[in-house]
């Protein structure tokens, strides 16, 4: 059963002539993590600000768990947890005081307010700094305070603008784990510039450029747009790459070779021609018929950063774009 918790249709926003967001539509179901991608200034934050009721859309409709944000703003806001860009907070307050304030506004019953705050502080690893003014915290800790604030009321819909920005690798990992854990019973929308995040936490991704949606699909679909999709990479002893290339060039399904010398080995990547799905088989067969020993062989899903670059560049130079 689909349970659409967030539905955005035809959303646009103009700032004195500049169209920052142009006719964006998206839905997020319960159990989904939608990754929101796009170059700087694409309109990700502006879209989120409209969804959460901060900015008023120029056009379009936003429905949060069935509540129209325009007609029932307070009801809609109750069901959303929001981490704004830059994780703003009251600097003179401590994380403890700040979370008490948010819990009061969120109307968390006094009986389990304290327990809930402690639980969240623990979960986001803020317990040691719980009594230190927020303005004296490091950037990563400030971000964590923002995340804690967003999940304190266990919202059904979670909207986070660059949640892992400024976190150390361990914390990045933990926050991603946390997002995945929460995802089962929530609808989550996150914006990010980190493409591996799309792979590791998102069930779907949307790329926008200049305010317009240019891609919408699963991370796998996105990866399949890469020229590295189904490419085969092998590691060979350095020095042998020339001979091996000569031999593999007989395989007509190969579009081109990429040779990267490394310390003891050389990496060879063969990209398939359009439409070829099983390059591995041909290469494996060819190699098996020879004496060359290879150290590794794997098939690539595709490189997201490459797809991202080609898609958003194409769009910027005014080329065709999909919607």
């Amino acid at each position: 059963m689909k349970d659409t918790l967030l539905e955005v249709t035809g959303l646009s926003k103009s700032f004195s002539g500049l169209k920052a967001v142009n006719n964006i539509s998206l839905t997020v179901e319960r159990g989904e993590v939608l990754g929101f991608l796009g170059p700087n200034g694409a309109g990700k934050s502006t879209t989120m600000k409209m969804i959460t009721g901060f900015l008023t859309p120029s056009e379009g409709n936003i429905s949060v768990a069935g509540c129209n944000i325009k007609e029932m703003p307070l009801l809609a806001k109750r069901r959303i947890g929001y981490l704004p860009e830059g994780a703003p907070a009251y600097g003179e307050m401590t994380p403890m005081g700040f979370l008490h304030f948010i819990a009061d506004i969120r109307d968390i019953p006094r009986t389990h307010k304290k327990a809930r705050i402690d639980e969240v502080l623990e979960k986001i690893h803020l317990t040691q700094v719980a009594h230190q003014p927020i303005e004296t915290l490091s950037k990563g800790y400030k971000r964590r305070v923002g995340i804690a604030q967003a999940i304190i009321h266990d919202p059904e819909i979670l909207i986070m603008d660059e949640p892992t920005d400024g976190l150390d690798p361990n914390q990045k990992h933990e926050i991603r784990q946390l997002i995945k854990e929460m995802a089962t019973e929530k609808a989550i929308l996150i914006s990010t510039h980190i493409l591996e995040e799309v792979d590791s936490v998102c069930t779907r991704a949307i790329i926008i450029a200049r305010g317009e949606v240019i891609f919408s699909g699963t991370p796998l679909e996105l990866a399949s747009k890469s020229s590295y999709h189904n490419a085969v990479t092998i590691m060979v002893d350095s020095g042998l790459e020339k001979e091996i290339q000569l031999m593999l060039e007989e395989i007509t399904e190969i579009k081109d070779f990429e040779i990267t010398p490394q310390k003891d080995f050389t990496r060879m990547t063969m990209k398939p021609k359009v439409g070829v799905t099983d390059l591995r088989q041909s290469i494996q067969a060819k190699l098996d018929s020879t004496v060359y020993g290879i150290h590794q062989l794997y098939v690539e899903e595709g490189r997201l950063d490459e797809v991202f670059r080609t898609m958003t560049r194409k769009h910027e130079s005014g080329g065709i774009h999909r919607t």
């Binding site: 600000k49 307070l74 009251y90 304030f101 506004i105």
Partner: protein, 244 residues
């Protein structure tokens, strides 16, 4: 209501999170003392009342109240927390009223600090305490009027200094509009009713009768509607400028 209360509590607490609150209260008390006892000639007058004390309040508030109100909304804009509270389940009106009430209660606390002056006159003579009590209420009402102006102005800028200066100028105008010297200038060329309207906006005029111990419902309505008007403008100022 829950939201308003939470906003109020946080705001009032934030005054005391920094030394500014204590500095403000000390300055307020010291200036009150100076104005009452030295400038106001408290001892020379040989009269046991607090008239000089209250007479200075409009002028004292004119620059002290903008100092209390300047950060109310400009700081929220500057730090980005405006986005936070506008996306929390609390209406903008409740936030505006909550923050205003916090600033007002803070001012009331400062005013409470002047009670020793009241005690002093009772020690020195036999003042009319009803008049003094009414004057305190009037002074607090007037402070609310000044605060509502300052709160609205602070919603228009990220810069506290600008908020202070602009509030000060508007407060000054509200004081001066009842000044005979100013009214004479208008008398020279404007029709009588215009002069009366200008005069009727003066805090001085409305505070003057309260301060004499006379509670005129029109003065109360004046301050109440003034506060209502500026807070309404405050809501609009945020509603239409929140994106910047």
């Amino acid at each position: 209501m829950k939201g308003l209360k939470a906003i109020f509590k946080r705001e009032l607490g934030s005054y005391f999170d920094t030394p500014v609150a204590y500095v403000f209260i000390v300055i307020f008390l010291v200036l009150n003392g100076i104005f009452t006892f030295y400038v106001g000639g408290f001892f020379e007058r040989g009269q046991a009342d607090l008239a000089p004390f209250f007479e200075f309040h409009p002028w004292l508030y004119m620059f002290l109240i903008p100092a209390v109100s300047m950060r109310l909304w400009s700081e929220e804009r500057k730090s980005g927390t405006l986005e936070l509270i506008l996306t929390l389940p609390v209406s903008l009106t409740a936030s505006v009223v909550g923050k205003f009430l916090a600033a007002w209660v803070f001012t009331a606390l400062a005013l409470l600090g002047t009670i020793p002056i009241w005690v002093t006159v009772n020690y020195l003579g036999d003042p009319d305490n009803t008049v003094i009590a009414i004057s305190y209420i009037g002074s607090l009402l007037m402070a609310g009027g000044f605060l509502s102006i300052g709160s609205c102005v602070s919603a228009l800028t990220k810069n506290q200094v600008i908020a202070f200066v602009v509030s000060f100028i508007i407060c000054l105008a509200f004081n001066l509009s009842g000044f005979p010297m100013v009214l004479d200038v208008f008398n020279a060329w404007a029709p009588q009713f215009v002069v009366e309207v200008i005069g009727s906006f003066s805090f001085l005029t409305h505070f003057d009768s309260i301060q004499k111990g006379v509670i005129d419902i029109r003065d109360l309505i004046f301050f109440a509607s003034l506060i209502g008007f500026w807070l309404f403008a405050n809501v609009l100022a945020i509603e239409f400028n929140k994106g910047d």
